[in-house]
Symmetry: C2
């Protein structure tokens, strides 16, 4: 009986960002031949720093120490203890034990498993939303998802949340946020958690960019609060330039969830690579090396943010709120798009103009139904001179539109 | 609206083998104090060899070469090419390309994704069956699973398969098989594939133990045949003592499945750790080092098998077919269990007698509804002197029953 496969697998869509990157790969040589110039890659979420040496060394040592046997279900005790230390030091989250933690393959598996908890149910999150939520986790778990648009300056419309909160099982928060760079304040997070508590709604809190904050501002983790029904997901990817390692974890005060998601993680992958967990422990526990590695990276990101932000400010008509975290800018280009341009043509209007000048970025409709006149610029792989070149090209382009 | 979580997650059960290992951990010190003797651990699927140095070195080199960035969706080209070489050399599977392969976190994720394809549908497989199929993959994908018992000597009852084949979407085959050590012959595999072809049934072929075969006998992979609807899953765990790495892959001639399962793998984990894939390439491509590492391990396993098999043969009343692969023996103890002992008491009757003499093994009902009078003995972590000790203890026990 040959038939259709599982609908939830069939419904997963290829991330449009991957499609964009493939398009760039084709267009870049053509552009180079025509203009002599390289494409400027503002579309990627990759990081151009190597993984710090102290973490690579810890992985090598673990390999030689024989940590190549099956991992412990839910995570090695040494890594969990290091995570507890980091939660207390950095996230001000206390009163947690090993039983509150599940180690995963990146923030990705932590989020995927969290969404799986609510398979077939209703959820909501802010628009714009990270594309993997929309293209992958929602179809894979068959979630009925409501996008609650942020205000134009990326502040929260709490009335809109109050309205949907009555009908949903969970709310998805990402702070600092992809694609806006919005760092939600302590007050905003507390108010959001209070709405969840009042309506008996779970909060899935994606804190992948927790260490990437600017101007002395700090990430506030909802897991520092005393509400049990929060799942905070974390990754080593962005803090330690470990995107290719796939190491992450989730933390929750809820008693049942770690047991269920340990089983989910075991079922999917039989646990996280043992020797990588020892490297993860060192990443967190070697505080001196950790602070140096993180600050070196974040200081460079802050320079890039400042430069790119100033660049957009120099162009009349671009509307933009300065981001306090992550490595994205998400300016609005409404003033440059004729009103007569609508629908899918409108979605890629600015994107295509940018391609013409050799600038790759991600158009707003990749992040949901709102903010389609915005475009995401990542500065995670673009050194300062490249950003300067990009600004020059864009100044010319938009001053002529 | 606080409510129940996803039923398919709630229905996953902890492997009884984990429960057994926990029980042993508690009983071992008590047993030691009483008898001065150590527990003999025949219950584990772990391997007591370290990962070969040439593979660890390749991982270290990849770490330093900067292969710490996001992996390519579905797998790195270098690993896929190495897999294609191995498929051709070892499995005699030709006519395949990179597009037929998806790299995964171990054979585990390869199987889990394969089962996910058939979510909510009917499948079948031989009894006895690997416990993770029964406790994890079946509930997680909500499969209606029929156990088709092997004959007493672990040969196939083809009539029984013909009967269920009309009603199922897929058949699960594991060769060499856990827990019996049965290596299905070329003729048996071909006949099974013919039944699948005739009934339009997919074959999920779990070939985790492909390199662990004895007496000059060789594994036959169904993927060497020209039937498109076979998914063969492989792992580095058992061939190269890499259980804790979690590296594996699946191969199929079906055109749609690799696209779907690449998406599934991406959604669950964002792909397999990049630098590990380079180590996997070296594991397969360094043929000289590979053959030496595998043969050293398999020769030792064969000695252990021979010894343990001879030991059971020396005990009157134990019925056992000599296994040609994997690292398990699955003898039948019916002659030692009184007819009056039934139900769950019968399931653990021999297991408990063995615990009394400090011998840990896995009772047959962990592997399904049939073969409940059998017990699985793994020799993957038991050196020769330990096996000798175990045999002596069992000779004494069963000669007195």
């Amino acid at each position: 009986m040959n038939e259709n496969f599982n609908k939830s697998l069939e419904n997963i869509r290829m991330s449009p960002i991957v499609t964009i990157s493939e398009e760039i790969r084709k267009q870049a040589p053509v552009f180079k031949e025509k203009t002599g110039q390289d494409f400027i890659l503002f579309q990627r979420g990759e990081i151009d720093f190597p993984t710090p040496e102290y973490i690579r060394n810890a992985a090598k040592k673990a390999l030689d120490d024989g940590f190549t046997k099956y991992p412990k279900s839910g995570g090695e005790a040494v890594l969990k203890d290091a995570i507890l230390g980091k939660l207390e030091r950095f996230n001000k989250a206390t009163g947690l034990t090993r039983e509150n933690i599940v180690t995963t393959y990146g923030g990705q598996e932590a989020l995927e498993l969290s969404f799986k908890l609510f398979e077939g149910k209703k959820g909501a999150g802010f628009a714009p939303t990270w594309s993997v939520i929309l293209e992958n986790f929602i179809p894979y778990s068959d979630i009925d998802f409501t996008e609650v648009p942020l205000n134009k300056d990326f502040s929260i419309n709490f009335d809109a949340i109050e309205k949907v909160a009555k009908d949903i099982s969970f709310f998805y928060l990402n702070t600092p946020q992809n694609p806006t760079g919005k760092l939600f304040t302590k007050e905003e997070v507390i108010q959001l958690v209070e709405i969840c508590r009042k309506n008996d709604v779970f909060l899935i809190s994606d804190e992948a960019y927790e260490k990437v904050t600017f101007g002395g501002k700090e990430h506030f983790s909802p897991t520092s609060l005393e509400y049990d029904n929060i799942i905070s997901t974390f990754t080593f990817s962005k803090s330690y330039s470990m995107t290719g390692w796939r190491l992450g974890y989730l933390v929750t005060r809820n008693e049942r969830i770690p047991k269920l998601l340990t089983m989910g993680n075991y079922t999917q992958t039989a646990g996280v690579t043992t020797f990588m967990q020892y490297a993860g422990k060192e990443a967190l526990d070697n505080i001196e090396a950790e602070e140096k590695a993180v600050s070196t990276m974040v200081e460079e990101f802050e320079k890039r943010r400042n430069l790119l932000y100033k660049g957009f400010q120099s162009i009349d008509g671009i509307e933009l709120t300065k981001p306090d975290g992550a490595f994205y800018l998400f300016p609005n280009f409404s003033n440059f798009i004729p009103n007569s341009v609508t629908g899918s043509e409108r979605n890629t209007y600015i994107y295509k103009k940018l391609l013409d000048i050799g600038v790759a970025a991600v158009y707003g409709s990749c992040f949901g139904h709102h903010f389609v006149d915005n475009v995401r610029f990542s500065f995670s792989t673009t050194p300062i001179p490249v950003i300067e070149d990009g600004i020059e090209r864009m100044q010319k382009l938009f001053n002529s539109l």
